[in-house]
Amino acid sequence: MDENRPGDPATAADTPVDRRTFLAAGAAAVAAVAGCGHVQPRDPSVRWGMIIDLRRCVGCKACTVACKAENHTPPGVAYNVVMEEETGEYPHVARRFLPRPCMQCAVPSCTQVCPTGATWSRPDGIVAVDYDKCIGCRYCIAACPYGARSFDFGDTYSPDLNPHERRPSPEYGEHRSREKGSSPIGNVRKCTFCLHRLAVGLSPSCAETCIGHAIHFGNFADPDGRCTVHGESLRELLATRGHMRLKEELGNEPSVYYLT
């Protein structure tokens, strides 16, 4: 990228730059920055995804709690929540639960609208947030069809921060302490499939915690990919069970499947 530095004295001295060349170079530079500033090519060998078995989910919300404990998220910020739905009338009542982590879309709406490219699609398919680039405009929250992103308003569980709140969050392996005025306060936060755990060979904490073994996690790009928590073949799960993705009609291509 940086081979031809414009300030290089050897080239600047003997090649006078006329206006046309300058404009052309400028246009090319703008196009380069605009076109490929944030897009990293997909890694064809990794695509992290989740398969959530709705028949196994009992609505205990342990995943929500595990996620909050793992990522040290403040009140009002939640990466994975369990939605409940009650249908029918007594005595014929049914209750259904639907855990909703980030869908880690292959065609994410959030990364498309982000003015700074602070939220971006990693080569492994996980949508990450660069806390230092994010200006907190919340366009991504407005654009996310799944309500999967939360803004960190700076709220705390206790006014003088309890010991757990004071500990840095391992998110992105950055270990930031949540202090007034510094990131991630004022940033948009989201589920990362526990990237910092994946980096050391662990599974996302929600999947690990789930008492009903309802959350399967693994590499969809691997034809023999198995759930990293329970060992089932991911392809077999999808082939033998009815499944769906949320808001399929929007074309976001979520990486989270639900077994129905």
Binding site: G37, G76, T111, Q112, P115, T116, I135, G136, A142, G154
Partner: protein, 404 residues
């Protein structure tokens, strides 16, 4: 009356300063924004003022590009208004950022697929065009004042870049440049406000926003509000002779209500299509607008106060030739468009992405609905009040009526 106005303005400004201070020490915790409604009052006011600005600027091009001589005396005022409103709009979106100190990241890490990134660039270009036009139009008069030693002399010397009064050739060149800048400014202003509409229109997760009509509606209501503000300000502050003034105010008021009628047509078209289709997600936002808890913003502020009354005032024989009544009609449209902008931003976000979300995690930031906090109101109104001072000052010191 006048002193009461100043008392009110001072009070609002002071309250605004305090609220802005609180906002910066507390962060956005001072707002009632939620994870479902991330954009609230400040964003509504931001698009409102960007719209006022773009509308005012496009009106000025009627004079400087299309040669409508009739409105010439209010051309510089239209540009000043465009500049002031742009500053208010930019200030409000800046205050709304979670990380205001990093706004420049938009330029450093420009993401080409983001409408907001493109808008940021357009806002800068647009502001530069307005400033350049104002300079070219006012420099001769400013230089004359600097030469004649009108106080404050340093101000006129600085603004005119010295005391040399430009000659006829310079003025002729300036006129051609203003024409060229105005011509360039038309697509830029359309980009500025049509693009601001596109920020919302491209969001498919909020079906009420997701329509190709949206950027057009933004532009049309911008023209209406810009024309209305110019009507009001000309009626209220212009020192033109009475017969010229009534002629200009009449023309501006008619232009405004004509555009307003077009705005209503677009609104009706959108509503008919949405309700005929009957898709729940599309209807939900409109139901909020028409029958939600703030139904009166649509029926009362937007339709009655902002459209019906001004239309009657401009049409009725008793009021249509009175500077005061027409000025009032302008003011009413300006207020009505606030309702339009609030209804653009908020109701579309009220329907939830999933009905079960608020109960999945109990916290005020996940609760449904939105009403601005006291801080949001004070910051919003206070910002406007604070920007009225430099406007009043420049109205006093700038030779707007002596432009070339």
């Amino acid at each position: 009356m006048k002193s009461l106005g100043y008392v009110l303005l001072t009070a609002l400004s002071a309250a605004g300063l305090w609220a802005i201070g609180v906002r910066f020490s507390e962060g956005l915790a001072a707002t009632h924004l939620t994870q479902h409604v991330p954009w609230g009052l400040w964003i509504s006011l931001y698009i409102y003022f960007i719209g006022l600005s773009a509308g005012s600027f496009l009106l000025s091009t009627l004079i400087y590009v299309f040669g409508v001589r009739r409105f010439e005396p209010v051309g510089p005022l239209a540009l000043l208004q465009a500049l002031g409103c742009m500053m208010i709009g930019l200030f409000l979106i800046w205050v709304d950022l979670g990380k205001p100190s990093r706004f420049f990241n938009v330029f450093f890490y420009f993401n080409a697929s983001s409408v907001l990134a493109w808008e940021s660039v357009l806002y800068v270009l647009y502001t530069a065009i307005i400033l350049a036009e104002l300079f070219l139009l006012l420099r001769p008069a400013l230089a004359r004042r600097a030469r004649d030693g009108v106080r404050p002399a340093w101000l006129y010397r600085t603004l005119a870049f010295g005391t040399n009064v430009p000659d006829e050739a310079w003025i002729a060149r300036a006129r051609r440049r203003v024409f060229a800048l105005g011509l360039l400014g038309i697509p830029v202003a359309i980009g500025v406000h049509g693009g601001t509409g596109a920020i919302f229109a491209v969001v498919k997760s909020r079906p009420t926003w997701h329509t190709g009509l949206f950027p057009i509606v933004f532009l049309v209501s911008a023209l209406a509000s810009g024309g209305a503000l110019l009507t009001f300000l000309t009626a209220a502050t212009s020192s033109l002779p009475q017969d010229r003034k009534i002629d200009i105010v009449k023309g501006l008021a008619r232009f405004t209500v004509g555009i307003l009628a077009l705005d209503l047509l677009l609104l009706v078209s959108e509503m008919l299509v949405v309700f005929y289709g009957g898709m729940p997600a599309h209807i939900a936002g409109w139901q909020q607008i028409l029958f939600g808890p703030f139904w009166w913003v649509f029926w009362g502020v937007q339709l009655v106060l902002g459209a019906a009354v001004p239309l009657v005032l401009v049409a009725a024989p008793r009021t249509r030739s009175s500077v005061r009544w027409l000025g009032l009609a302008g003011a009413l449209v300006v207020i009505g468009v606030v309702g339009v902008r609030l209804n653009v931003v908020v109701p579309a976000q009220i329907p939830l992405e999933f009905a079960g979300l608020p109960d999945a995690y109990h916290h005020t930031r996940f609760a449904p609905g939105y009403f601005p906090s006291l801080n949001e109101w004070l910051v919003g109104l206070g910002t406007v009040a604070l920007f009225v001072w430099p406007f009043l000052l420049s109205r006093k010191v700038l030779p707007l009526e002596e432009a070339v």
